[in-house]
Symmetry: C2
Subunit: 533 residues, 2 copies
C-alpha cells in the first residue's frame, strides 16, 4: 500500500493561530526538526503576503540539510485582474525557489461570488492558468481546494470542476480542504469516496479542528484513499487549529498500519518535536495531549497503579517509549502508601521496615498539597522531600535573612538589588547582587554565596519561571505558586515554591533548584545524566 | 428519534486528571451548572473510595435544586471475597442516597485474570449479584463494561456475556467503555452495531481521548444506536482525558440533529459552563478549544476578515452565539490597516480622514508586539492604546518614582512594602503601603494615592495575576510578561505589562487596569456594563 505523505503547515497555517508568532530563525529550527522526524513536505510560508517568509525560503536553501522533506511555498491562484505572467503573488512563489508549490483556490461557488467576486468560469481559468504556469516552471504543484466539503454539499458539480481544472493543467495533487472545520467524519469519508471515482490525481486532506474532529476526519479520508495528510505540530492554527500531526502520525503508523514516516523507529522523535515546537512558539505544552503529553501515560488511580506494575498492557493502549514519551506513577493527594513506596523504590531509597517514616512523608506531602504545592509538575522538589525524610539528606545551607528591592525614578530604568545572608558549611556568608529583576538579583546573590563552596553551580542555569495565583478570588493578595525550570545543558528539572509573597515562593524554588543540582552532582558526577533513579 | 442521554462524569472520572482537585463546595457548584445546561445524569463521585464524595452525596440532597439531572453514584461490582449484602463498597453506594448507580465491572477476560485475579465465571456472578441487589433496592442501574472494546477484540463471546449478565439481572443501561482510549471510530461503530444485534438493553458509550478521537468515537457510537453518551466538561480526566461533552453536545444538537438537551436554546450556556469549570478547577482555559475557546471564532487573516464582515457563513461553521461564544476580529502583528480601522469603529472612535494617526497606532502596536506585548489576551490595555492615540485620552496621573522591598529574617515571616510618588490632578502624592507580597503592596500604595481623587476604585479588584518568561533561554534574567485580570463584580478586563523586571511589568499592568476602569466609569457610570463598545 502507498505510503501516506505528510504535509506539515506549522510554519504557514500554524502561524495563523492566535498568539503565535515565529521568527525566521525559529522557522528554520522547526523545519530541521520536522525533517528529522521524516515529514515529506514542509510548507514554509506565504511569500507573497509576508516578507519574513521570503527570507525563510532564501535561508532554507543554504542553511537546512534535509534528508526527507521538500520545502513547499504557499500562495493563491493569480488574482482576477492579472495574468499569471504578471501576477506578483505567482512571481513571489517562483522566486521563493521552493521545489514544491501549494496553490489555494476557491471550490465553493458561494465563495467565488461572495469573497472573490468573479464569475464561476473565471475562477476555473485562474486555477488552470496558475497550475499550468507553475508546471511549465517545473514545480511539483499541489492544488488546495478551499472549502471543498462545504462547496461539494452546495454544488458538487462545480466543486469537482475545480479539481478537474487543476488536473487538466497537470497538477500533482489536489487537496480537499475543510477550511471552516465543520464537517463530520462520515461526510468526509463519503465525499472522498465520490471524488476518487471521478478524479484521477492523488488526493490530499486538509482538516481544521472546529468540531474537535480534525484527526478523525483525516483518518477517515486516508481510509477512503487520500494519500496526503496536511496538519500542524500540536494542531496549532487559526481558531481551533489544524489537524494535529502529532496524533495523526502514531494513529496511522501504529493503529491503521499505514506508514507515513521513513521507518516506524522515527516515531520516537514525536514527543521531543511536540515539546520543541511548544517551546519555540512560547506556548505552554498541553499536559493532557494525546501520545506526547506529560500526563498521557501518567497513572494516578490506585487500582490502575498496581495493575500497571504487573502488566502495562492492562491500562496502556500503546507503549509510551514508541513515541518517545514515558510512563509516570503519580504521588498525589489521592495516592496511598503503595504509590509512595513505589516511588521511593524508584529513587533507590531503602524503605524496608520504615513504615513510620514513610507515613510521616505521606502526611507531609498531603499537608503541602493542601497548602497549594503540586509536585506533579515539580518532581525535583518532590525528590528532595523524599531524600530529606527518608535518605538522610542534609541542607547545604541555613537561611539567615534576605532583602530584595526594586527602585524606579521617572526617566530612568528600574533597578533591582538583593541581599542574602546564609550559613554555608558552618561559615556565615553575606552577599549582595544586582539583577534585571528582583528574582534575577536573588538568583545572583545566592550564586555569589554558594560559588566559593560549590563552583559547579555555574554550569547550571534557569530556563523558565512561571507564577500562578492559587486562589484567583483574592488577586494580588492571594497565594502564588512559582515553578522554576533549570538545566545543566544535559537534563532539565523543575522545582516549586508556594507563598503569599512571590519573592519568598521564588526563593524556595530557586534554593530547591540548586540543592537538587548539587545533590545530583554529588551522586552521579557533573557530566553524567542527572536522573536520581 | 430517541433523545441521547448525557452522563457527565466531570466530578468523578474528571477528578482523576493530573493536577485536578475539587472540594465538595466546588462539586456542588459545578453540579448546579450542569443541571442548568440540561445534563441528564451527573456522576458525582465514588463514595466507597473517597469520604469527600460521601459528603457530596449527602449535601447534594439538600443543597441542589435540580430541574433536569439525576445524581449518580459510581462504584465497583462487589469484591471477589464478599457477598453483596456485606460488601462495603456496595453499601456505600446505597448509603449515598443517589437514585442512579453506575457499577463498573470487567469485560476483558485478560483483566479478569490479570487485575481481578478470579475465574471468568466468578466475574459474571459478581456482575449479576451486584446489579440484582441494587435493582432490588429500586435504583436505576448503569453497568459500565470496563475495557469493553479491547475485551471484545480479544474474546467477543466473553465480553458480550458480561453485558448479558447485567441485562439478565435487570440493568437499565450497559455502557461500552474504551477505558484505555486506544480504539478507532470505525472499530467502535462496528462493535456497537454487533452488540446491538445481541443485547436488548439500551447502550451507552464511554470514550477516552488517548488517540485524540474520543469525540469521534462517541459520535460514531451514537450513529450506530448508542443512546447514552458519557463525558466530562472540557474533556478533563486521567491521562489524556475523557470524551469532551463541550464538543459532543453541539455536534449532536447542531450537526447530527440528535437532541441531547431539553431544548436547543440550552446550548447557549455551553461557553459559560466550560469557562466556569476551568476556573473552579484552577485550569487555564484552553484558548483554541472547539466551540467555546476564546479563539474559536477569532479571525486574523486579512482575507478572512473582509469576507467575514460581508457574510459570516463564509468562514464560520456555526454562529458563535448559538453556543454562547462570540466572534472576534484580531488586531495583531499580521493585521493591516483594515483590521485596525474595524476595531476602532467597534470602539466608537471616529477615524474619518485620520489615516496618519491610524498608521501611527498600527506602528506603535507592531513595535510593542515586537517587544513582547500580546494584546490578544489583554484587550483593556489595547483599548487604552486606541483611546490614547485616537481618542484624546489623557493619563490620570504622572509617574514620579516607586520603590518596592521584601525582607525576611530567619524565624519570622517575610514582609513587603511599596512606596509610590505620583502627580494626580496636578497634586504630588507620596504613599506607602504594606502587602502580602511586593505586587500586593504596590497595588495598595497605588490605591492609596488614587483613592482621594477617585474613591470608586475600591469597587474594583484584581482576580488573577500571571507571569510568563518571554525568552526561556535566559531564565530569570529574561523579559517577563505580566497579565492581570480585574473585575468590578459585573465585568472582567485584562491588562498587560512587559519588562525585564517583574515589578515594572506588574506596575504597568496594574496602572492600566485602574486607568481602564476609571475610563469606563467616566463613560458609562459605575454600575453599567463596562464594555466600551
Amino acid at each position: 500500500m502507498n505510503r501516506v505523505r505528510l504535509l506539515d503547515t506549522t510554519l504557514r497555517d500554524g502561524t495563523q493561530g492566535e498568539g503565535i508568532s515565529l521568527t525566521v530563525a525559529d522557522k528554520l529550527r522547526i523545519a530541521q526538526k520536522l525533517d528529522d522526524l521524516g515529514i515529506a513536505y514542509i510548507e514554509g510560508g506565504f511569500p507573497a503576503a509576508n516578507p519574513k517568509d521570503q527570507d525563510f525560503f532564501r535561508r532554507a536553501q543554504s542553511e537546512l540539510t534535509l534528508k526527507n522533506a521538500k520545502i513547499t511555498a504557499f500562495g493563491s491562484t493569480r488574482r482576477p485582474s492579472t495574468t499569471v505572467e504578471t501576477d506578483e503573488g505567482v512571481r513571489a512563489l517562483l522566486d521563493s525557489g521552493a521545489p514544491v508549490i501549494t496553490i489555494v483556490g476557491k471550490a465553493w461557488d458561494f465563495h467565488v461570488h461572495e469573497a472573490l467576486r468573479v464569475e464561476l468560469a473565471d475562477n476555473l481559468a485562474m486555477i488552470v492558468e496558475t497550475v499550468a504556469w507553475l508546471k511549465k516552471h517545473d514545480r511539483e504543484v499541489i492544488f488546495d481546494a478551499e472549502h471543498f466539503f462545504d462547496g461539494y454539499r452546495h454544488n458538487s458539480e462545480y466543486a469537482i470542476s475545480t479539481l478537474q481544472a487543476a488536473a487538466d493543467a497537470g497538477v500533482d495533487w489536489v487537496t480537499l480542504c475543510d477550511t471552516n472545520g465543520g464537517t463530520l467524519p462520515d461526510v468526509v469519508a463519503d465525499i472522498v469516496k465520490q471524488v476518487r471515482q471521478v478524479v484521477s490525481v492523488p488526493i490530499g486532506i486538509h482538516a481544521h479542528n472546529d468540531c474537535e474532529l480534525a484527526v478523525a476526519n483525516t483518518l477517515a479520508a486516508v481510509k477512503e484513499g487520500a494519500l496526503m495528510a496536511h496538519g500542524t505540530i500540536n494542531g496549532i492554527g487559526e481558531r481551533c487549529g489544524n489537524a494535529n500531526l502529532i496524533s495523526i502520525i502514531p494513529n496511522l503508523e501504529l493503529k491503521l498500519e499505514r506508514p507515513c514516516l521513513p521507518t516506524k523507529a522515527h516515531l520516537v522523535h514525536l514527543t521531543e518535536l511536540s515539546r520543541f515546537v511548544s517551546e519555540i512558539a512560547n506556548l505552554v505544552p498541553h499536559s493532557y495531549q494525546p501520545f506526547v503529553g506529560h500526563s498521557a501515560f501518567a497513572h494516578k488511580g490506585g487500582i490502575h497503579v498496581s495493575a500497571i506494575a504487573r502488566n502495562p498492557d492492562t491500562y496502556e493502549h500503546i507503549r509510551p517509549e514508541l513515541v518517545g514519551n514515558e510512563r509516570r506513577i503519580l504521588v498525589s493527594e489521592l495516592s496511598g502508601l503503595s504509590n509512595l513506596q513505589h516511588r521511593a523504590e524508584e529513587l533507590g531509597l531503602n524503605i524496608e521496615g520504615r513504615t513510620q517514616e514513610v507515613r510521616t512523608l505521606l502526611n507531609r506531602i498531603k499537608q503541602l498539597e493542601y497548602e497549594g504545592y503540586q509536585f506533579e509538575g515539580a518532581e525535583a522538589s518532590q525528590e528532595l522531600l523524599f531524600v530529606k525524610l527518608l535518605g538522610g539528606y542534609e541542607e547545604l545551607f541555613q537561611f539567615e535573612s534576605m532583602r530584595v528591592e526594586a527602585t524606579q525614578q521617572v526617566g530612568s530604568a528600574i533597578t533591582s538589588e538583593a541581599i542574602v545572608k546564609l550559613s554555608v558549611q558552618g561559615e556565615m556568608v553575606h552577599t549582595v547582587a544586582e539583577g534585571n529583576g528582583p528574582v534575577n538579583a536573588l538568583d545572583e546573590a545566592l550564586r555569589k554565596a554558594m560559588r566559593p563552596f560549590y563552583p559547579v553551580i555555574d554550569t547550571m542555569h534557569l530556563t523558565d519561571y512561571k507564577v500562578r495565583v492559587l486562589d484567583e478570588k483574592d488577586g494580588t493578595a492571594a497565594k502564588v505558586r512559582v515553578l522554576i525550570e533549570s538545566t545543566n545543558g544535559y537534563d532539565i528539572w523543575r522545582t516549586i515554591g508556594v507563598s503569599e509573597n512571590v519573592i519568598e515562593a521564588s526563593w524556595e524554588a530557586l534554593a530547591d533548584s540548586m540543592s537538587y543540582f548539587l545533590l545530583c552532582v554529588a551522586k552521579c558526577g557533573e557530566a553524567q545524566s542527572m536522573e536520581l533513579t
